[in-house]
């Protein structure tokens, strides 16, 4: 048994300078980078509502939330760098499409109710995925996840509170919430990834204790959590097959449109091109700032010498 296997077997964390299988390192870099990219791209659907938030209170909250997403992306890029990945290279791979981000962010945020639904459902699904990752086997990733999970709880609660406020409003506001839920429910279920039977990497990731639960387990957990929340809100989840199964002790729910999932992952979602174009523009238009900061730092070092 190698040191690596022994550490995993004892349920301890792998740390950056430990010897690890190449495939573990590559899987970790891919997963952490994809996660970081998701946080960074995830700033866009809500970010576009900052200037149009209906009150100063909502604007301040939304600004803080989007700033958190940026922070989460940076914690994760830092974790990826401990494995030898280079941040500039990761950004280049995001922009070129060589690395993916969560398919959920390729859907548009059409109304202000979407801001609430993203907080409630999208961040809620993210929390379901992320809480077990606080115990993932790679130390820097687990530590980043602990920090992120603490902050995500604010994200979900602000979204739910926003929706409760709208549901107490006019019929038009209630319709707006229902419409947003109708559009985001199924893509939220897709956030847990393909069904277990079609998730080839799951077994190895579980053996390495990167993952602690399968995609379908987490999806079920999310459905079970969301149904009573939807009832309390007074909205309907858009699934005619959704019903309590006494025998299983879980809610049964309909089949996700996996064809749509694959299409969006492959680049053909409503906003794929726009998300990457915005990220590319931010990167290219910010180049002079990065260069100026480097030039300034070099000049100061030169003076001190």
């Amino acid at each position: 048994m190698t040191d690596f296997d022994a550490i995993i077997a004892r349920d301890q964390r792998i740390e950056p300078r430990d010897r690890m299988p190449d495939a573990y390192r590559a899987t970790m870099v891919r997963q952490i980078a994809q996660h970081a990219h998701s946080e960074i791209i995830g700033m866009q659907p809500e970010g576009r509502w900052i200037t149009r938030a209906p009150s100063l209170r909502r604007k301040a909250i939304l600004l803080a939330k989007v700033q958190d997403e940026a922070g989460h992306g940076l914690y994760l890029y830092a974790a990826a760098e401990t494995l030898g990945a280079d941040r500039a290279d990761l950004t280049a791979k995001l922009i070129s499409g060589a690395q993916k981000y969560s398919s959920i962010f390729n859907y548009p945020s059409l109304t202000f109710a979407d801001v609430g639904v993203i907080g409630w459902l999208v961040d809620g699904a993210a929390i379901c995925n992320q809480v077990p990752l606080c115990r993932t086997s790679y130390g820097p990733y687990a530590r980043a996840m602990i920090r992120i999970c603490k902050e995500e709880s604010f994200h979900q609660r602000q979204g739910y509170e926003l929706l409760m406020t709208m549901m107490r409003g006019t019929p038009a506001q209630r319709e707006m919430v229902q419409d947003a839920v109708d559009r985001w429910w199924w893509p939220s279920l897709m956030m847990f990834g393909p069904p277990d039977a079609e998730s080839p990497n799951t077994a190895r990731s579980m053996a390495w204790k990167i993952k602690r639960h399968s995609n379908d387990e987490l999806r079920q957990r999310f459905v079970d959590m969301s149904v009573p929340q939807a009832d309390a809100l007074g909205i309907r989840l858009p699934d005619p097959e959704l019903r309590w199964n006494e025998e299983r002790g879980h809610y049964d729910f309909g089949e996700v449109d996996w064809e749509e999932f694959r299409r969006v992952i492959a680049g053909d979602g409503p906003c794929n091109a726009e998300r990457i174009a915005v990220r590319r523009a931010a990167h290219e238009e910010g180049a002079w700032v990065r260069e100026a900061a480097s030039a300034h730092a070099a000049k100061r070092v030169g003076r001190a010498a």
Partner: protein, 92 residues
């Protein structure tokens, strides 16, 4: 061209040590401190921040872990429980 990597250490409250929080990229010390504040203390997590260039840290090697720490393994007399004192002796 990319900015150097910095390690960030945060003192959560007066009376505690600075503890490693993570790392970040910044062009110079001033920017590293500002970025560390924005990245790692958005919710009053700290009262003091240290930043240090990652390349200036020297670390022990995990490969040598066992031999490196071996000298402390067989010195159980460094621990108070090594010494047997009768139960009826107070305050010791």
């Amino acid at each position: 061209m990319s900015w150097p990597l910095w390690e960030v250490f945060i003192r959560a409250r007066r009376g505690l040590n600075h503890v490693h929080a993570g790392s970040l990229r910044a062009a110079d010390e001033a920017m590293a401190l500002h970025n560390a504040r924005d990245l790692y203390t958005r919710r009053a997590e700290g009262v003091s921040i240290w930043v240090v260039r990652s390349e200036h840290i020297t670390a022990s090697s995990p490969e040598e872990r066992d031999p490196f720490f071996a000298p402390n393994a067989d010195k159980i007399y460094r621990h108070p429980t090594f010494y047997e004192i009768p139960d009826d002796v107070p305050h010791i």
